[in-house]
Amino acid sequence: MNIVEKILARASGKSSVSPDDVIFANVDKVMIHDVSGPGVIKVFDKLKKQGISVDKLWDPTKVWVAEDHFVPSAEKVSAENIVKLSNFTKQYGIEKHFKYGMGQYGICHTLSHEEAMVMPGDVYVGGDSHTNTTGALGAFACGLGHTDVAYVLLNGKIWFKIPETMYFKINGKLPDHVMAKDLILKIIGDIGTDGGAYRTMQFGGSGIDEMSVESRLTMCNMTTEAGAKNGIVESDQKVVDYLTSRGATNVNLVKGDDDAEYSQIFEYEASEMEPIIAKPFSPENICIVREAPNVELDKSYIGSCTGAKYEDLEAVARILKGRTVKIRTEILPAAISIYKRAMENGLLKIFLDAGVTVGPPTCGACCGAHMGVLAKDEICISTTNRNFPGRMGHVESQTYLASPQVAAASAVTGKITDPRDLI
């Protein structure tokens, strides 16, 4: 069995599983946030009316809560959602609730790794499509809607069809100035936004061994944009060290068998990769940066679970050091722990000296929620994950998806710019 089959077999109490088998998997961790949480509360209200008990959760110690989409509260409706979320965690005895303005908080997917909330081999579900991100730690990490998450909260399990696994073998090392974001955009461009539909996208090979854990998180994060059920990387010593340094103990490695089967195998030479963008209005609409359209950008947005981890900010700082931005630029570190490291290591000074506005952790404008959304006809280059019409604001705004380095280089020139061409 491959790693996903092994995890799901273990979680469903079976000795083996194969693609297309339907199982009920016991869940190890579940996450809700300020959008899916109130959605779950609404489902609970409906269940109560149907006479189904919602008095207690199956295991509150396995549930954790993030405040990320509309925080700091954008207006009164989102403020009320935060209150609802607090009441919910209090009522059900959920202790792991990362509240803004109270120490560590941030984007849920970022907290999943920053706070070592998920371990290799876990079945982890979240009320958010980018839950896939956390598969980089070697977990089966999958996004679900409100009804499914409510079901998990009450029953501790959920049905899955065992997915086929597409294996992406990455050879070699990415060149300087080329990032994991460029590679995953290239893959999505090749297979399309439904190219991974209902399947697992597993990444491996020397190029993945070479990558940092944070780069692998970027790869798995955007498997969602290919429609995948989950993204995954087999855990190694780097994952153990990463989680251990964040307080985890007894981190076990989980790997597939030597004779694991995959539905398709793809091979990429990392050393041949170049900086890539996805043009409006689809993550599959890629081109290499040196062939990008000559548009006048209005804004550079460096944020989100995809593109505002510490490593991403370090890459941005490398570009912005000693330079100033030519267009409106926002940097929103994805969690307070990252914000703090950026401060301690002098990154914030580089950003502020460059003229950037540094904001608090939030999903913010990535999903068009608040804090820097786009006006009609505005054109943005962004380290986020989606660029559908209206994704970051007005339906007639445009978003180009890019790596943190490309977004930073473009902030300096006001044009879509390959960081290698920055003088």
Binding site: P38, I41, T193, D194
Partner: protein
């Protein structure tokens, strides 16, 4: 199930156009319905009737896990979405929450059915009848688990132990 078709002849209708991100904070189902399809078709809410169907291309509902998407369509009156294929979270949200039926169709139905056509969905024989044009198309049958959850009336009413 009979109704008229609202056709979006394109692939990749995503959750950001089905219900834009700014409404994710809204959890009132009737209010969400007033913003359904706003990112693509601002007239949708006024033109759609109870019992209507949406017809579209590949990868319908791609993007986010927001259950707001099937909720907004269902509370606008949409009983089923017919598409060449669906994105996975939209599909399972529609079924597990019992909001609407996601029906996978073949190219003949996609090409044959026009905006406004009256159709009848016959689940028992996996057929779609185009009453307006007097044509019949096959729909792809639901997988076993999906069929059972739909018959039960959603995931919470489905009892796997009684299988």
């Amino acid at each position: 199930m009979k109704g008229n078709v609202v056709k979006y002849a394109q692939d990749n209708i995503d959750t950001d156009v089905i219900i834009p991100g700014q409404y994710l904070k809204v959890h009132d189902y009737a209010e969400l319905a007033t913003h359904a399809m706003e990112g693509l078709d601002p007239d949708f809410h006024s033109k759609v009737k109870e019992g209507d169907f949406i017809l579209s291309g590949k990868n319908f509902g791609c993007g986010s896990s927001r259950e707001h998407a099937p909720i907004a369509l269902s509370h606008s009156g949409i009983k089923a979405v017919l598409a060449l294929s669906f994105a996975r979270i939209f599909y399972r949200n529609a079924v597990d929450g019992a909001f609407l039926l996601p029906i996978e169709i073949e190219q003949d139905a996609y090409d044959g059915i026009s905006e406004g056509d009256e159709i009848e969905i016959k689940l028992s024989v996996n057929e779609i009848k185009n009453i307006t044009k007097n044509q019949t198309y096959k729909m792809k049958p639901f997988s076993e688990i999906i069929g059972k959850i739909i018959s039960a009336g959603g995931l919470f009413k489905y009892k796997p132990d009684q299988d």
